[in-house]
Every structure is written in structure tokens, then in C-alpha cells.
């Protein structure tokens, strides 16, 4: 595949790994923020190829993992309400709510549809004027433009039976939350390339300065990841802290101005609860008051009792990199991808699921 296979070059990866081994003289702990990066590190077997003194910690950048329990419950409540078609990205369906998952609601008769694009949901709303269509708008800055655009499309087309259930989260405040946690000892970050493609890199300069940590905006292919890790380790070894852009073939410093315009038209920044982590100030998007008509929360007057997370799940500690998934007493026992206690065990991008496969791999390979 042109423009992808070049970044999966075995020799190039080996060269970067050699260089990391040569450069890293001390132990370093680096967090890859994005779940997509975690997925790629595991899928390609990169974690085992890194030298022992370079430790990767998997960050909170998995939208499935950080969507709070009561939001899942809200989505389930709406899905089960008569007349509603609930549309969602695929991997939200298996996430356990307080009682069950959307997938189980679907099996019990709820009209839950898996879509790749919220614009498709607007189309469904047009085709079913007698039904209400709700799109479960989750994700980071990456999915925000499409979700915002769906609202604008609905407005332009005069579609009044379309709303979104918003649970958007933002990366920079999450990095800040991780750094402010005394128990988290992260020395460098790989920032999420795709997020920066949308919103640019300017928000990361203050973080670099405030916490004196290197942040390298990194892509998702094996060559991207090992190069991003090398760039971070080089800075750490020199005692430097800078914002660097490994993913410059895709990420422009200013981001995508059109996408930003769409986001800013429809959304405003708000406080947001993160599953397992808790409330992070100014860490999410919600619909601006002028788009209140497209807010499923308001339209359907959803009030869901907040149910506490499973006491046995240590997702918060895992998402902040304080504990490794396998340090959880329930890991691989009460909590498996088949019977997850918490969200990080659900998504293929979740740290626990990644480790579940990874630890099996270690057993198998060592």
C-alpha cells in the first residue's frame, strides 16, 4: 500500500531500534497518549523489541475507555426508548454500562446501528421522519469535526429529528491531568498525530514549558512510533524539553483550519468527566447553546442516576500510567475481553486489552 508500506519497513524499524538502544543510557518512561498508538505498538510487536530501559506507558487516549459509565447508560436508555434509532461508532457497542452494553440492548430489540460517519445518521433521520435518530458522539478532537458537521448538515437540511449525545474529550487537558498526578511518573509524551492533524500543535507548547517534558507529535505506523520514541529519548538523554513533530507529513502546525472552524461553530469547551479518572476541567466539547435543539440530553430529558464504577476495576490508575494492567488483581481473572469489568479491557485500543494479548504473547514467545 503506497504511503503506508514505506512506514512498515522492517529494516528501517530495526535501524531506529538500534539507535534507541545506543542512545538510551538510563531508564525512561514514555507515555503514548493515543489508543491507536497503543494498538499499533501491540499489533506490530514493538513493545517486545524496545530495549528494557525504555518503558512505554499507555495513556488515556482511547475514547471507548474514557467515556463515563453514565454516558453509556444514557446511550442505552435512549436506545431502548421507543421510536429512537441510536447510531454509534462500532467499538462503543461492547462497552459495559452499569447493567449491560449497547450490543445487548440491540440483541433485546433496540434499534442500534453501527456507522462509520455521523453524516450517515443524518441521512437515516431524513429517511425516517417518524423516528428520532440519536448519534452517540464520542471521541477526541479527531471525530469532533464530523460530529459537528452532522449538526450543521441537519440544520441546513431542516432535519429536526436528529440529535447527538455528546461525550467529546480533549487530549491536552488529559496530559495535564496525568502530569499533575503525583503518582504518575511520566518523563516524555508521544502526542497523538491524528488529533494534531485537526487542531494543530500550539496547545502543546505551554505543556512542554509548564512540566518541562519533551512531547513528540507522533504517527501510528511502526516507523513513526520508533522514530517518535527515539526523538523523545534523545531529548531526555540531553536533558532537553521541546515540542517536536515526527508526523510532519500529515500534521501542519496550525492544524486544519476548516475543521477547527466547524468545531468552534458547533461546540464549546466544557468540563468533562473521564471514566476512571474523574472530572477534568475544560477537557471536553459540548454543543453551544444555539445548537441546543440538537442535544439529545435536552430533547429527551435524560436523567440517569450515576452508578459507581466497579470497585474491583483500577482503570483510572491504568489510564494515568500509575499501574500496569497486569498489576490489577482482576486482570485476566475476573476481567477479560470476554467479560470486561472496565472499558480498557473492551477496546482493542484499551491498555488492558492490549496487555491481555501482550502478556499472552510474552508467555508464548519467551
Amino acid at each position: 500500500m503506497k504511503f503506508i508500506s514505506e512506514y512498515r519497513d522492517q529494516e528501517l524499524v530495526a535501524q531506529y531500534l538500534d539507535e534507541i538502544r545506543r542512545v538510551a543510557t538510563r531508564p525512561w518512561t514514555i507515555m503514548e497518549v493515543c489508543g491507536g498508538q497503543t494498538h499499533s505498538l501491540v499489533k506490530n510487536g514493538i513493545l517486545q523489541m524496545l530495549p528494557e530501559n525504555v518503558r512505554m506507558v499507555h495513556g488515556p487516549g482511547c475514547p471507548v475507555c474514557v467515556t463515563p459509565l453514565h454516558m453509556i447508560d444514557k446511550a442505552i436508555y435512549l436506545a431502548e426508548k421507543k421510536g429512537i434509532i441510536l447510531c454509534s461508532y462500532g467499538d462503543m457497542l461492547r462497552v459495559p454500562g452499569s447493567k449491560h452494553s449497547l450490543l445487548e440492548s440491540k440483541a433485546a430489540g433496540a434499534d442500534v446501528r453501527i456507522l462509520y460517519s455521523p453524516l450517515e445518521a443524518v441521512k437515516i433521520a431524513k429517511e425516517h421522519p417518524d423516528r428520532e435518530v440519536v448519534f452517540f458522539a464520542v471521541g477526541f478532537e479527531t471525530t469532533a469535526p464530523a460530529n459537528a458537521l452532522s449538526v450543521l448538515h441537519a440544520q441546513r437540511a431542516g432535519v429536526t429529528n436528529y440529535t447527538i449525545l455528546t461525550s467529546h474529550v480533549l487530549v491536552p487537558p488529559a496530559i495535564e491531568a496525568v502530569m499533575q498526578d503525583e503518582d504518575a511518573h511520566i518523563e516524555g509524551f508521544l502526542a497523538a498525530g491524528h488529533v494534531c492533524t485537526i487542531v494543530g500543535i500550539s496547545e502543546y507548547y505551554p505543556l512542554v514549558e509548564k512540566f518541562k517534558i519533551p512531547i513528540v507529535v507522533t504517527g501510528f505506523e511502526p516507523v513513526d512510533l520508533v522514530q517518535g520514541i527515539l526523538m523523545t529519548v534523545r531529548q531526555l538523554e540531553k536533558g532537553e524539553y521541546q515540542l517536536e513533530n515526527q508526523y510532519s507529513r500529515v500534521v501542519r502546525p496550525e492544524g486544519n483550519p476548516e475543521a477547527i472552524k466547524v468545531i468552534e461553530t458547533v461546540f464549546e469547551v466544557c468540563d468533562r468527566e473521564w471514566r476512571g479518572i474523574g472530572n477534568i476541567p475544560m477537557s471536553g466539547y459540548e454543543l453551544r447553546p444555539e445548537y441546543a435543539a440538537y442535544d439529545a440530553n435536552l430533547k429527551f430529558d435524560v436523567h440517569i442516576e450515576k452508578v459507581p464504577e466497579s470497585a474491583e476495576c483500577i482503570a483510572g490508575l491504568v489510564l494515568k500510567g500509575i499501574k500496569k494492567p497486569h498489576e490489577c488483581p482482576q486482570f485476566g481473572k475476573k476481567c477479560t475481553p470476554q467479560m470486561p469489568l472496565g472499558a480498557p479491557m473492551v477496546s482493542s485500543e484499551g491498555a488492558c486489552a492490549a496487555y491481555y494479548h501482550f502478556s499472552q504473547a510474552m508467555e508464548a514467545i519467551v
Binding site: 503506508i4 530495526a14 514493538i46 453501527i114 456507522l115 462509520y116 479527531t142 511502526p222 475481553p337 504473547a361
Partner: protein, 361 residues
């Protein structure tokens, strides 16, 4: 209201079939509940010329079942087909229903002979669509060299089915040289795949409602029995196991094999053949091609000393021209499938939890 229009991608053989088999003139356009009642309307459907398409001596016995003689050891298999959409790029449910059962028999090392064919039709299915499916069934049965000898048709109320469901069962005679058995799989055996992975699954996904994307990818559904028969003629007992990695894909079949044999499996990602468009679509949709369903391919576990010759023979066959050795059976890491990634790293390829769900980003 009629069902949504469909597009049939027709290959030359199917076009010829369509021309040879024009739809008989009927005084009804759609299937109604009465067509499954067993009464007058059912008879009308049967007598209308619709089922003459599948004519053969055994079917013409018109009894509750077919009686026949078959020599030697037999293989027997069944499968139900509920695919949506019914017509998809590269095929349709009728063709799939024949190829599927034919291939299941072939995977037992058998030469498929006779099939049963049962329809569950949803009220409202157009006769045009039903006819096209029947023509497809006829073509697929002729290509595979099997006869449909008994059948059934039921009609369910609108909303209780999805246009058409098909069940086929098949019977075949086991190839005299075949010794297909999981217990014969040994450490050192090579794993050969007969063609591109994930083609069928991605072709279907490309036309699923809500996920449509532009692509020229067509399902590779086809019969594999002739191809397998040739391999068994030449290599006989050196073929230890055959499997078609349909639902759940290659990963599921190999995980089941590792679990059942208590042996390990090692795969080399680079050697797994895949169409570039399919690779791209998987990348875009966030799907792992190893878990995507296949139709027109099979996996053969063969004795190491025969592997190269099996591969060469397979590659001479139109249906095996993209065949490749993708891995081997090992004694290390029992019950686990481990894959060497494109960059030389290793990862475990697990059993999928359920249906693969597209990722958010």
C-alpha cells in the same frame, strides 16, 4: 412495496445462464404467504417452471426425499445462509449456499455428490429476485458437479425473515486417498492458504447499509472441490487437514486448530496473500483481515516434505494461483497462534471475542 433494487455483478457464465434460462411467464410478481402453504399456490409455484431449472432424475422422483446409492465412506454436512445483502458484488446468496456446502464437504476430503436445498422466503420477495437466485444456484451446482435432489420451500410473514434464507445439506464420497484428521497434524507441518484473505468479507461490508464505500472488490465465492480433489489425487495422506476459513476468518480457524491439537502455530504476516484494495479497506475501517470472513479459499495443513509441491500444484490451478505458505505448526507455545509482524515483531493472534466492530478512529 417491493424490496430495494439490487445489483448483480454477473460473470460470463452467469450471463449465459440468464440468457439460457429466461424467467417463465407468471401471474404473480411477488412471493406471498400462500406460496408456502403447501396448497394450490405452492403447487403453482412448483409447476410454474420455476423449479424445472434444477431438474434431474432424483429430484424428479418428487417424493418426500431422494433415494440413491453411494459407494464407500461418506461425508455429510449442512449450513444455513442468511447473508445480507442477498445480492452482493461478485455473487449472491444462491451461489453461496451451493459453494458453501460443497466446500464443507471438500474440506472433509470428500467429493460432493448430492445436495438438499431448503428456502425460507419472506413474504414480498420479488419473483424476479427469486428467479435470479435460482439461476445462480443452478449455475453453481453445475460448476461444482453436484445435483440438488430434495428440497423445501416455506414462506414467513413480512418482517420475520430477511428476504430469503437458504439451508443446504450435502453428501459426498470420501476420496479414497484422503486421510483428513486433526489428530494427524504434527509439529513441522506447513500451513498453506489457497488464495487472498478477507476478500469476501470486505466485499460484503462495502455494500452494507451505512458502511457503503466505493470499491471494485468482489466476493471470491467459488467451489473448491475440484481443486481439492486434484490435491488429494496427487498428495493423498500428505494432506493432513483442510479447512475453509469462513466466519471468523483465518485467525479463528487456526486458533481452534491450536486449541484442539494442543500445538502452537506460527504465522508470518508478510507471506499472507491479500489484495491491495482489501488491505486498504481493512486499514481504513480499522479491521484486522485475519478475522474477516472468507469464501473462495481454504487452508491446508500438509507434511513438510510435500509443502513445496503442494504449493506448486495449487498455483497451477486458477483457484489457487495466489496460494502461499503462511506458517507452520510448532511445539513451542502450545494452543497459541503467534504471528511475526511485518516489521519482525511478534504478537499473539487471539480468538475473536465476537463480531469485529469497527474502531472509532
Amino acid at each position: 412495496m417491493a424490496f430495494k433494487n439490487y445489483n448483480i455483478q454477473m460473470n460470463d457464465h452467469k450471463i449465459k445462464m440468464q440468457l439460457q434460462c429466461p424467467m417463465p411467464k407468471l401471474d404473480f410478481d411477488i412471493i406471498t404467504l400462500g406460496h408456502g402453504s403447501g396448497g394450490l399456490l405452492t403447487n403453482k409455484l412448483l409447476e410454474s417452471g420455476v423449479f424445472d431449472l434444477l431438474k434431474n432424475d432424483l429430484l424428479d422422483q418428487r417424493h418426500d426425499g431422494a433415494t440413491f446409492e453411494l459407494p464407500g465412506r461418506l461425508a455429510f454436512s449442512t449450513d444455513s445462509y442468511v447473508i445480507s445483502p442477498v445480492f452482493f458484488p461478485g455473487g449472491d446468496i444462491g451461489e453461496l449456499a451451493i459453494n458453501g456446502t460443497v466446500n464443507d464437504l471438500a474440506m472433509c476430503g470428500a467429493i460432493p455428490k448430492y445436495l438438499s436445498l431448503a428456502f425460507i422466503l419472506e413474504e414480498g420477495l420479488t419473483m424476479r429476485a427469486f428467479w435470479d437466485i435460482l439461476v445462480s444456484i443452478k449455475a453453481a451446482a453445475e460448476n461444482a458437479g453436484v445435483q440438488i435432489v430434495t428440497g423445501d420451500t416455506k414462506v414467513v410473514e413480512r418482517g420475520k425473515g430477511d428476504q430469503i434464507f437458504i439451508n443446504t445439506s450435502g453428501i459426498g464420497t470420501v476420496h479414497p486417498k484422503a486421510l483428513i484428521d486433526k489428530n494427524r497434524v504434527k509439529s513441522g507441518d506447513k500451513i498453506i492458504i489457497s488464495g487472498h484473505v478477507a476478500t469476501h468479507g470486505i466485499a460484503i461490508l462495502s455494500v452494507r447499509q451505512g458502511l457503503e464505500f466505493e470499491t471494485a472488490i468482489e466476493s471470491d465465492t467459488t467451489n473448491l472441490n475440484h481443486c481439492v480433489e486434484r490435491l488429494l489425487d496427487i498428495f493423498g495422506e500428505q494432506i493432513h487437514l483442510l479447512h475453509d476459513p469462513t466466519r471468523g476468518g483465518v485467525a479463528t480457524v487456526l486458533n481452534e486448530l491450536a486449541r484442539d491439537t494442543r500445538l502452537g502455530i506460527e504465522l508470518v504476516q508478510k507471506s499472507i496473500p491479500m489484495l491491495e484494495e482489501v488491505d486498504g479497506a481493512c486499514e481504513l475501517l480499522g479491521l484486522d483481515p485475519l478475522y474477516v470472513a472468507n469464501e473462495g479459499i481454504f487452508i491446508a495443513i500438509v507434511a513438510p516434505e510435500a509443502a513445496d509441491s503442494v504449493l506448486e500444484t495449487l498455483r497451477q490451478d486458477e483457484k489457487g494461483k495466489h496460494a502461499a505458505i503462511i506458517g507452520e505448526i510448532v511445539e513451542t507455545h502450545p494452543k497459541q497462534v503467534v504471528m511475526q509482524s511485518v516489521i519482525g515483531g511478534k504478537r499473539v493472534v487471539n480468538m475473536p471475542v465476537g463480531e469485529q466492530l469497527p474502531r472509532i478512529c
